[in-house]
């Protein structure tokens, strides 16, 4: 295949022509550039101390290294070493270890990442379970500014902040009762860092098929870590399904 391109636009046109089947997932191209140079530039900027203090905020100092780690442009050993040379690196190294852990589990169970690792720890009030991701979720038309915003970002940029991934997964699995596999597949198609290990096993963690309890959140939590940017002006702010205490949400969703 070709290696000579005078511009990114020319490369994009060539990829469209050579892989026309990919266009069924949209024509968006991420601003995130592939390659070692871009990865190095990000690696240079990693600040483990700020990461530890702010990573749960959407505006926090996250590394954005995931696509490069996922595809081995950078190795986990290399980023660990670079982190160790900087102060207050413990949390960042611990988070890198999660990726290593998911990979090792994947190595142990292979295609088993698509099956429930364990029984879910709680039963939903309704037994109805959807096998496919509903159109309103995939099309960013739920009316919930947060969830629609997350999906729009994912489809447009190939990126979703880790906390947003958790909220989105929890909403899809527990509020909408969609099988986690359907949402995991959607992520794998669009996330630049999508891989069956981190992706599927994280969905299972939220679902409680690989964890001690289902992961839930509420509006207060989401509002805090997003600086309220979705809730302000959300069309469904008046009937927000997340605007309750954890106890109320638990009772509403589970037996």
């Amino acid at each position: 295949m070709r290696r000579d391109f005078s511009s990114r636009a020319e490369l994009v046109d060539y990829v469209k022509q050579e892989f026309p089947e990919c266009l069924e997932h949209g024509e968006q191209v991420s601003e995130t550039r592939g390659g070692r140079r871009a990865a190095e530039a990000l690696l240079e900027k990693v600040n483990p101390d700020r990461y530890a203090r702010s990573r749960n905020f959407l505006s926090g100092a996250v590394t954005r290294l995931a696509p490069y780690l996922r595809h081995g442009v950078l190795s986990l050993g290399e980023v660990r070493h670079r982190a160790l040379a900087k102060p207050n690196h413990e949390k960042l190294v611990n988070e890198y270890a999660w990726r290593d852990y998911w990979r090792r589990v994947y190595g142990q169970i292979g295609e088993g990442v698509w099956k429930d690792r364990e029984e879910p720890k709680r039963r939903w009030r309704s037994a109805r379970e959807l096998a496919e991701l509903p159109e309103d979720i995939a099309g960013a038309r739920t009316g919930l500014a947060c969830m629609d915003g997350f999906v729009t970002d994912l489809v447009t940029t190939g990126y979703m902040h880790n906390h947003a991934r958790m909220w989105f997964a929890s909403y899809v699995i527990h509020w909408r009762r969609v099988r986690w596999q359907a949402a995991a597949k959607f992520f794998l198609t669009h996330l630049l860092d999508g891989d069956p290990a981190s992706n599927n096993l994280s969905f299972q963690w939220v679902a409680s098929t690989f964890g001690a309890k289902p992961y839930l959140f509420n509006r207060e939590n989401l509002e805090k870590y997003t600086d309220g940017k979705f809730c302000r002006g959300c069309a469904r702010a008046g009937d927000c399904p997340f605007g309750k205490s954890y106890e109320q949400i638990d009772q509403e969703l589970f037996q």
Binding site: F19, C22, G72, V93, N94, R104, G158
Partner: protein, 123 residues
Amino acid sequence: MKPVVWMHEDCLRPIVPGAPAIFVFESNGHSLKRLVFLYECLLELDVEIEKGEIVPLVRAFAARHGADKIVTAFTECPRLMGYARTLGAEVVNDDPFVAAAGPFDLKRFSRYWQRIERQALKL
């Protein structure tokens, strides 16, 4: 020994400096943005880019270069490691997260972390 490298999408970095390398795009359901990202990674590497079936294309590449060995990077992906076995490739794990030897208790992350923490936090 004259090796060639089969580079796959789980390890887009050189593992045998100077050895000819090939990457093969499979039909895998990726979106355009993912394919562009991968292609950009490949354009920074000295690698021949192909699309189609991995095993015959890598074998033909190795024959073209008169190679006596195919080398590839370790991955936990069973599909890719299946190709490596079919190709009779030497699999290298060039830069693991930590060098601790298994087996590991992978029931929960906390158990795994407890086992590797000291090594992970050591230069």
